[in-house]
Structures are given as structure tokens and as C-alpha cells.
């Protein structure tokens, strides 16, 4: 399998490393605009890694392309690749971009290829956990996602922007636009993270979860933030983002009904977001590159991959899932 990775930041580098250590992957072609970065990463990955020549749009004989560039730069390249019939994995977590990538669905479906949208830590692993939790229920009524932490600098910028945007809640068959920074909820993340205040934010998880769970009544997504984060959300970032954030976590709560009555399933994961996001993106690329996508078109991971084998492999690579209760 030949995989191209475009963007070698915190997520892209980890994804490339995961791909290079995957038996099914024979070649990993790397693209990055930052001078010297490709040589630096490829030299650390061994013989499978190669620097990409020319633009990734004209890449030939590639089985799947993983986009890990900063948000806002995925759509153009993804559109070109879909037009050429090449499966795409995007790690974008920008609401507008995720919506536009989902709009590539009909063309991807017509060409018989899959586009994995939001395939990282959150969204990505959150979609997988929502599916795993939902499989334990007979009916899903509500899905609530919370996330804490950031990966690299691009992720930190996106975190900042999302707290200054508009949150999307799905409620009783319609979208509700609510101010980011509102709706405080205390969420308990897996140990050792513990409790953190989470707020509405411009997060794309509901856009991916609503089509994956037909008939769901409520879907919300919240982001852990400090008072300073909320206070400065409307301003430019006051200081440069850190090279990489610390530990992060996700929490997915699915409410519904089982044969015993009303039931609540709570799943979570704790890791560095860049590390976990890279592993999820790499595994998604392997699944799509091997032709194991469950359907053609553009969607989140909740419907695109077989969740249990995916999570087993993810656990084998060190990203483990926890259950509350």
C-alpha cells in the first residue's frame, strides 16, 4: 500500500510514523511546505518514507492520501484527489471545512471511493466511541461529546478560534446555533485528567454524528476551556501557541434505551491529542487504502470503519479506551 501524508505537524508526523510501522504499508510519501521538515521526518522513519516530488495533487499510484495540514487547507486538495478517484483521510476539525468535505460525498460515492472526514482525536476517536457506545443500546436518543486539550500549534489556534465562533447543537431534528463559551458543564474525563468545565464551541462533531445516527434527538459537543481562554477568545492569540499541548482527553456520553429501560453509556480516552489523532488518522488511511471502507462517500468514522477491530488495533498501538461506571 502506498500512502501519502500531506502536512508534517504534530498529527501528520505521528500518523506517518504509525504508517511506517504498519506491515501493510510499503511506501509513505511525505509532503510539507516547511523547508527541511520532510528530510527531518523521513530520515527518522526508515526506508519506507520518501519525500514527495512536486505537488501532492499530481501524485500518481497512491492508494490513499492523508491530509494533516492546518484547518482551512484541506478542501481544495481533497476535491482534486476525489476527482481523480483517490480516497482521502482528512484530520480537519474546522466546522465550515468539515461541512464542505461532507459535500464531496456524492462525487466520492459516484467514483466508488471513501472520504474520511474528521479522522483524528476529536472528531475521529469521538465518532468511534459514540458508535461503540451506541452498539450497546437498542435506541440512541442523545450523544454528548466533550474534549480537553490540544495537539500542535495549528490545533491550539483552532481551539482558540472555536471558542470565538458559534456552537452547533442538534435538537429534535434541527440545528441550533448557540454562542461559543456558553452552556458550561462539568465533565469528568478519564484519569488522571479528572473534571473540567466544558463549554459550547464551534466543533464539527455533531455534523459527523447526526448523519451517522439517524433519529438521534440531541447531539452536542463541548470544549474544555479556562476562564482566560473564554475571555480572550474574541481577540487574536495573545502569545504564540506551544509546540505541543500536554495530555488531552475525550468523553462521549450516549443516552438511549436498552432492554432494561433508560440507559447511559459513557466512554472516554486520554492521551496526547497529537499522538492519538495521528494513530487514528493512520489507521483510517490503512482501512481506506486497503479498500475496507464500509461504504463509499464522505462521512465520519462512525459509519466508515468496523469500530471494534479498529479500536483493538488502536489499543495495540497504545491508544486505549475507558468506560465509566
Amino acid at each position: 500500500m502506498h500512502v501519502a501524508v500531506v502536512g508534517l505537524g504534530a498529527v501528520g508526523t505521528r500518523a506517518a510514523r504509525q504508517l511506517a510501522s504498519t506491515d501493510a504499508v510499503e511506501r509513505v510519501t511525505l509532503y510539507e511546505t516547511l523547508e527541511g521538515r520532510v528530510a527531518e521526518v523521513s530520515s527518522s522513519l526508515g526506508a519506507k518514507a520518501h519525500a514527495g516530488a512536486g505537488a501532492p495533487e499530481v501524485l500518481a499510484d497512491v492508494d490513499v492520501v492523508l491530509l494533516a495540514t492546518p484547518c482551512g487547507s484541506h478542501l481544495g486538495l481533497a476535491g482534486d484527489l476525489v476527482a481523480r478517484g483517490i480516497p482521502v483521510v482528512s484530520t480537519s476539525d474546522d466546522v465550515d471545512e468539515v461541512r464542505s468535505l461532507l459535500d464531496l460525498g456524492p462525487e466520492a460515492e459516484a467514483r466508488g471511493i471513501a472520504v474520511a472526514v474528521g479522522a483524528a482525536f476529536s472528531p475521529g476517536l469521538t465518532c468511534l466511541l459514540a458508535r461503540l457506545a451506541a452498539d450497546r443500546l437498542d435506541r440512541v436518543d442523545e450523544i454528548h461529546v466533550a474534549r480537553l486539550g490540544t495537539g500542535g500549534p495549528a490545533c491550539a489556534r483552532q481551539h482558540h478560534d472555536s471558542l470565538g465562533g458559534v456552537g452547533l447543537d442538534w435538537r429534535d431534528g434541527g440545528w441550533q446555533r448557540r454562542a461559543a463559551g456558553s452552556g458550561r458543564e462539568l465533565s469528568w474525563f478519564p484519569d488522571p485528567i479528572g473534571a473540567a468545565d466544558c463549554y459550547r464551541a464551534a466543533l464539527p462533531d455533531p455534523l459527523l454524528l447526526v448523519p451517522a445516527f439517524p433519529g438521534v434527538g440531541r447531539v452536542t459537543a463541548r470544549l474544555a476551556a479556562t476562564r482566560r481562554d473564554r475571555l480572550t477568545a474574541q481577540l487574536p492569540m495573545l502569545r504564540p501557541p506551544h509546540p505541543e499541548g500536554g495530555l488531552g482527553a475525550i468523553r462521549v456520553e450516549v443516552r438511549g434505551r436498552s432492554q432494561d429501560g433508560i440507559a447511559v453509556e459513557i466512554l472516554g480516552a486520554m492521551d496526547r491529542p497529537g499522538v492519538a489523532g495521528g494513530a487514528v488518522a493512520a489507521l483510517a488511511a490503512v482501512e481506506l487504502g486497503a479498500g475496507r471502507a464500509r461504504h463509499a462517500g464522505a462521512s465520519g468514522l462512525a459509519t466508515l470503519v468496523e469500530v471494534r477491530p479498529f479500536l483493538r488495533e488502536l489499543a495495540r498501538r497504545g491508544v486505549k479506551v475507558a468506560a465509566f461506571g
Binding site: 461503540l132 478519564p190 484519569d191 466512554l267 472516554g268 471494534r308 479500536l311 483493538r312 489499543a315 486505549k320 479506551v321 475507558a322 468506560a323 465509566f324 461506571g325
Partner: protein, 45 residues
């Protein structure tokens, strides 16, 4: 003198109430089960 007596009565009553709450109040041992646990490989089959 009256004030001291009233203060002592008030302190005594407060101590009595505190003792009753201490003995009969809710609380006790925090939950010894539950919380986050890692999913085992079997639960992912």
C-alpha cells in the same frame, strides 16, 4: 455574667447539634467501586 451564661448555653447547644449531625448525618465511606476503567480486549470483540 448573663452574657457569659448565654454564650456558654449557645456553645453548648451548638456542640449538641454538631454531635447529633456527626452521628446521624449523611456521608460515610465514599464509593469503593465504579469510576473509569480501561476496556479489556474482550469488550472490543
Amino acid at each position: 455574667m448573663t452574657m457569659i451564661r448565654r454564650a456558654l448555653v449557645a456553645l453548648g447547644l451548638a456542640g449538641l447539634v454538631a454531635a447529633v449531625l456527626r452521628v446521624r448525618g449523611t456521608g460515610g465511606t465514599p464509593p469503593q467501586r465504579g469510576g473509569w476503567r480501561e476496556l479489556s480486549p474482550d469488550e472490543l470483540r
